[in-house]
Amino acid sequence: MALSKNAGGARRWVDDVLGVATLIGMVVALWLIFIYTPVELVQGAVQKVFYIHLASIWNAYLSFFIVFVASILYLRRPSAAKDRLARAWAEIGVVFTTITLISGAIWGKPIWGTYWSWDPRLTTTLLLWIIYVVYLMLRGFVGDPERGRRYAAIVGIIGFIDVPIVHMSVRWWRTLHPDPIVARAEGPDLPMSMWYTVLYCIVVFTVLALFLVRQRLHIDELRETLLDLRMTAR
């Protein structure tokens, strides 16, 4: 992450490009989702939630993977930039996990007849959400900021390794009970148009995540500048 030092100016254009790209991308995505792809026969129109649901969870996992890598790098050689990167991505990850959870629940209602079904994926996602909310809270709990960053990195590592383990255990735990899932449009027999749309949505959402992360990083940098200004002013 090459971040220039001053707060405004030179790299604003990157934000502008990302912002415009996201906006246009989103409009196209809506067109693809609502007009280009056919309505699924079994689930009806609500199946179209699938596109944003999948793109959101992709973003969440991407974010937490970046948090994981940044955390390892931070512990190896601590630097404020790595910590900022990890925290920004964690926040974006939580935002997209929230979207995943809510869209999943809304999707589930007409399909399963209930908002929450303890489906292994939803359960894992809920735990994922909790772990990273705690991750974000952690720095505030620890008095010494340096120690707070270090602890957050530990949770960023353990949390990420934990996710597949949680998923596995929940899935096996779930096998003991009747599976409430009627059908999900995720089989290999998906029409090509749906696949294109899914892939496209993933790309657009990733651009959106990049855009949001950059905004988040700007905030941290400005905070730092402010701190410097205040300190030198004394």
Partner: protein, 245 residues
């Protein structure tokens, strides 16, 4: 112990650009320090000057935000356990377990340090710090001054080359202040390198060959005790700390 060849050229403690920040607060600011074998330095300073942070960083308990610390040639970041082998620390807290007796405490820390012939070492130290008759009582039953003496013994259990003492006179009565002096000056035990903090100027001059003033995380005044310009010291202290030592 610790007879690695350290000729006159090699400093025992070498600190360079040591900085510790807590968020926006700077506790230690670009601190440089160098101590030769058996040199004794007293760090004076008002509360909040960074004395305790300095001792904690030198003791490897707190990681510096920047700068390096070398003890006996070992870098504290690369070989922290080697550094720990060569330092003994007395801090505000005694680091003693209340439920254990003085003897058990010393044995525990001795085992952690892998001290040879521990039994005899502990006996010697208990006698040295004048706690021997009460060696079997739990630490909680001892007075603050006695606990402080046990803490001194604990710091010496592995015969360290460097002693870091954060206000070691806390709670000691007149008789045991003399004991402290004989320990620090290497009369009761072999001499070693010492860094101690205090806010008592007379004690600093009595115990140490060198005096420094720490204010706002910087060493603002340094001089040999013998060649000390008291007026200058008072002036420096007063100006930076706002209170006389």
């Amino acid at each position: 112990m610790g007879d690695s060849e350290t000729s006159g050229m090699d400093p025992i403690v070498a600190v360079q650009g040591l900085t510790k920040r807590y968020g926006a607060q700077t506790a230690l600011d670009q601190l440089d320090l160098c101590l030769d074998r058996n040199e004794r330095l007293a760090v004076l300073g008002p509360n909040g000057a960074g004395k305790t942070t300095l001792i904690a960083v030198l003791a490897t308990l707190v990681r510096p935000s920047a700068g390096t610390l070398r003890v006996m040639g070992y870098d504290s970041a690369a070989a922290p356990n080697e550094v720990r082998r060569h330092i003994g620390v007395v801090a505000h807290q005694t680091y003693l377990y209340e439920e254990l007796s003085a003897r058990e405490n010393l044995q525990f820390f001795g085992r952690l340090h892998g001290v040879q012939d521990l039994e005899a070492r502990v006996e010697t130290l208990l006698k040295l710090v004048d706690i021997y008759p009460r060696r079997h009582e739990p630490i909680a039953n001892l007075s603050r001054g006695m606990q402080q003496r046990v803490a001194l013994a604990r710091a010496l259990v592995h015969d360290p080359d460097v002693l870091l003492l954060d206000e070691p006179d806390t709670g000691l009565d007149q008789a045991h202040l003399a004991l402290l002096a004989s320990l620090v000056q290497g009369r009761a035990i072999p001499a070693r390198t010492v860094i101690l903090t205090t806010h008592n100027l007379e004690r600093a001059l009595e115990l140490c060959g060198r005096v420094a003033v720490l204010a706002q995380g910087r060493l603002v005044y340094q001089a040999a005790s013998a060649a000390l310009d008291r007026a200058a010291l008072h002036d420096a202290y007063h100006r930076l700390a706002g209170a006389a030592p």
